[in-house]
Symmetry: C3
Subunit: 473 residues, 3 copies
Amino acid sequence: MLNPDRYFDSDPVVRGIARGLYEQVANLPLVCPHGHVDPRLFAANAPFPNPAELIVIPDHYVFRMLYSQGIPMERLGVPSIDGTPVEADPRKIWRTFASNFHLFRGTPSGCWLKHEFESVFGITENLSAASADRIFDQISERLARPEFLPRAMYERFKIEVLCTTDAATDTLKHHQAIRDSGWKGRVLPTFRPDLAVDISKPGWRMEIEKLGEVTGREITSYPRYLQALEQRRAFFKSMGATATDHAALTPYTNELTLEDASAIFERALKGEWTCQDGAMFTAHMLMEMARMSVEDGLVMQLHPGCYRSHNELVAERFGPDKGGDIPLATEYTRNLAPLLNKYGNHPNFRLVLFTLDETTYSRELAPLAGHYPAVTIGPAWWFHDSLQGMMRYRERVTETAGFYNTAGFNDDTRAFPSIPARHDLSRRLDSNFLARLVATHVLELDEAQGLIPELAAGLAKRTYRLTSPDSAA
Amino acid sequence: MLNPDRYFDSDPVVRGIARGLYEQVANLPLVCPHGHVDPRLFAANAPFPNPAELIVIPDHYVFRMLYSQGIPMERLGVPSIDGTPVEADPRKIWRTFASNFHLFRGTPSGCWLKHEFESVFGITENLSAASADRIFDQISERLARPEFLPRAMYERFKIEVLCTTDAATDTLKHHQAIRDSGWKGRVLPTFRPDLAVDISKPGWRMEIEKLGEVTGREITSYPRYLQALEQRRAFFKSMGATATDHAALTPYTNELTLEDASAIFERALKGEWTCQDGAMFTAHMLMEMARMSVEDGLVMQLHPGCYRSHNELVAERFGPDKGGDIPLATEYTRNLAPLLNKYGNHPNFRLVLFTLDETTYSRELAPLAGHYPAVTIGPAWWFHDSLQGMMRYRERVTETAGFYNTAGFNDDTRAFPSIPARHDLSRRLDSNFLARLVATHVLELDEAQGLIPELAAGLAKRTYRLTSPDSAA
Amino acid sequence: MLNPDRYFDSDPVVRGIARGLYEQVANLPLVCPHGHVDPRLFAANAPFPNPAELIVIPDHYVFRMLYSQGIPMERLGVPSIDGTPVEADPRKIWRTFASNFHLFRGTPSGCWLKHEFESVFGITENLSAASADRIFDQISERLARPEFLPRAMYERFKIEVLCTTDAATDTLKHHQAIRDSGWKGRVLPTFRPDLAVDISKPGWRMEIEKLGEVTGREITSYPRYLQALEQRRAFFKSMGATATDHAALTPYTNELTLEDASAIFERALKGEWTCQDGAMFTAHMLMEMARMSVEDGLVMQLHPGCYRSHNELVAERFGPDKGGDIPLATEYTRNLAPLLNKYGNHPNFRLVLFTLDETTYSRELAPLAGHYPAVTIGPAWWFHDSLQGMMRYRERVTETAGFYNTAGFNDDTRAFPSIPARHDLSRRLDSNFLARLVATHVLELDEAQGLIPELAAGLAKRTYRLTSPDSAA
């Protein structure tokens, strides 16, 4: 059973204050400005198929942990891309998961799953080999009910807005279908042009063709390419987008001359680019994306520092995003200097910086956010979106950047039913963090009471310019 | 109102012990071995003009936070160097500051300011838009009184010694005037030759001319340059200095041959140096400064790892030190090997190392200080001179270096009236840190009682060789 | 007197739970899979000579701290290798140590020594200048008794297995003598071929000759060299070894072709290698060691990131391992990609990774261990084998890697009588860490009760494949 005081310090002074702060925000609507839920869910509004396909198969947080202990991904039903046969019986997959649920002790996945089982599906028994079948049946039974359809869950979760992540060439047809359906849920796209701007990716050439198709004009030159991107941004904006999102190996930024950028682009079109070209073009396109953000007001998010698909064997058999992405030490101070010098003082520009390298919190990100008007620090990300990770984030960021240069929480998840668990955990930890400050007289209680709704929802709304539902129009 | 238990853990066991330890040192005189207070303050002993010029305009910790939230520095009265007009009405500046005081929640500036308002100026009301004018008037009224003159405040603060930071070419006329005045306050210079030793700085050539002037002999060669520096060190020492201070982009050290050093110096005099020359000369001059410290006994301080004036627009309009300095990852182990191999075992040498890269506390600085007789770790610096920052410092440094290889506290501030607040915060946090060790039986109470006066003042005095007031003679 | 609640949080809720968990494991046998105790101790089973030779002279944790405060190593009796005379009177050495025992306040050495004095030698008085002689006499008196002989202490400490660290060319004659003696103590060798695989080390050429001698065939080529190493591994395995151990400046791995590896080896035999050769050969030999581990099942340990003998003066006078080893920032993600891509998914391979760079815990090691079946994270190492260091380790590693991808505790010590103190401290801190999770409802009590024996002994046994005493056969 979920303890009502979970995640609060056991010290009675802190706990008492944390409880009060948490109660202020426990039932606030959920603001989800960044995530990976598939918009098709809400367009189709079909029932989720079964517990394994809901909870195990799509969640790399879950299956990577099982894999790390020697359980083949084939046994977990993770679909292969090379034809390797994988387990097809959801009940068997679920049993494997259940018998190894102890691996999640002390992990955020463990916390989220317990919360999800109990508060979404009403299951109070612990998951184990012994209870596996029973719980499988209980969840299956619920999934068949109308109140477990995606839209019903969205409403039950009190989601105020849910932003998805979409390729530059995405037609946003599911978003359109949601609008056309008359359903009131606010599901907004986010412009993520990673494939379109990274000439070193295998699929780039095809993406450029697709970009030509969706914009109605073949991309034959660098200027046309920029125009196409601008046009797509305008389209995303017309569909309610308020932000863009960018991954990059490093946050290196560097503006090329039009000639140099064009020359690299031409070489890339012919498939004759070099590694150096790739790095320079990425650095240049981050500058261009910032320029466009200044112009169109879309908030720019940057998530650098991840070595994707480190395990090639897994990537070849199962594809990307299979738990084999490993962080890298990341440098922001020098790398972002060109971009921030050009746009960092502009009142229309907002840059949300994320990191997988926690050493940069106090060393680079907080000093940058505590000075540049444009810079905001995104919440503890990915591996660090966890109890200890969030505490480290607050402790390292707050003293230099303050609370108001942080972007609020986002759940960044593709596991839709885990959303309430993630926001709840974040709200509890922020309540506890503020409670510690009150208990040690760094803050007065009324200051903490003023801050907690900001951390729970206000900062996310303002950072992502989501304040009015009409901004989608 | 300031809570008498502020910054102590709410756990009653820890709090009780922390209180007792703090009471031991709460009223000890303040030892200030490193800071940036202008010695002119005490030479002139004129009243501070108004609250904005006292608290907002000179403090980049304060105005950078306001700037980060989009408030133009012009509105804050920060003087421009390019002729841009800035707000001249101190009351208006104060109102802008007051209306945004919530931005400092959870920051050390917020803690220091609250302490300063209440214990220096007797203000118990919270600062806000509503109270701005009232508090402005109260502080203004106090500033006009004789007991708020700089010397009176120095005495009221119970400052035992206050070291300033002065260029190699400074005539120390204000220090001389203080001595001549017969006032008993102990204000000592610190030799900071950064401009004189960095050939890549725009003002270097002029500084060398000035160096020739103050030493009475034109600097026409590298040997004369070294002699001039030695002569200035001797002069500083005669004026009471016990330390030197050095900033550098990295702590890279490397000794050049006399020929190579001379050749670079000659090129620099002609303005024909290269980037490589600049880095090599800086690395070499750190070696020379260590050699001179071995000879004259001045304690050597090294503060590397800051990318100065990251925001060029701000630097061009307002000059350096305007909140746009951003830390860099810093490497000490390899970089300091040449210097420590040559001087690190010498009994006359003391090197105080500071860092803005907290990852080096446990990885590099504590192992170096826990081995080399010459190495001492300076306190948590700049962005890390904060509640959490100081705790991280103690937690990461102590177990490998012990307490006795640390340099004690220094306030490193140009905000004179914030000095008591800074020492008080440090003493409270050290008391709390020791109390946690006692509460968990790592230390016995009498051990902690022996340590707390060391952390509050003893280590600073011994590290900086400030033990006897006569050392100034 | 040792407090029975030492190292537990003072919060009564946490403390109560921690106590209960600790009681579960306080008396479990000690599993010591990695350390540096000299096997000769148990072969000879002779009395320890005196307190100085037992506690001060061999322990670089102890004498480096004294040296850092200006006490010459000569006065501490550390034997010189260049003929410099050193203090020979153990009582004088002991007095110097005792008068400076305050330097160890707040350090793990301080905690271990207090525990050792009291629970091994029955001394309850604090060590100081005043008590120095008395305690010297007490320890001396004990050391003469039969129950203080090494084997008796081994048994009294309830050591279940003790692994030593041995060069590839070691004849393991002491291990053989222990076996031949019929004594039941389980002292196993570990294969550490650092000298044999690092062509840039001064002693390499001689080690290769020795390798030829012990394998009975001169090493004239690279293939013979590999065969010799394989033969030695088989011999170590026959003597009970279950693991190998590898230091390297960086964890860089890279497989060479047979031709390239052979060519470097040939150059090295002739003494004509380059720096580049050295780095490439080390990177290649890590790959070869992994290959052999896949084949023979020996667990591979990797300890990178230490700049050895940073202080050349100390190294020249006293030799290596004298407290002058300083950590370096270390990169695992890119460096280990070749090795993990080749062997990281293999069910027979186990790689235990250690680090002196704590930033890699959450950024690189936990993500690697939380994905690759082969990767396990070794415990907090060396400078980080401390109270705060262990807490940082658990806090940064657990949420991403879980508990089950960690290797359990090892004491890594050459100070034999400190072994119980080290395990006790680790068991207390793990109990306290789990207690915090229970108190904040991250874990249920029964989950923590299931975990604590794993952290205390189970994980170490399984990670190092030490489960059955017969594995030595």
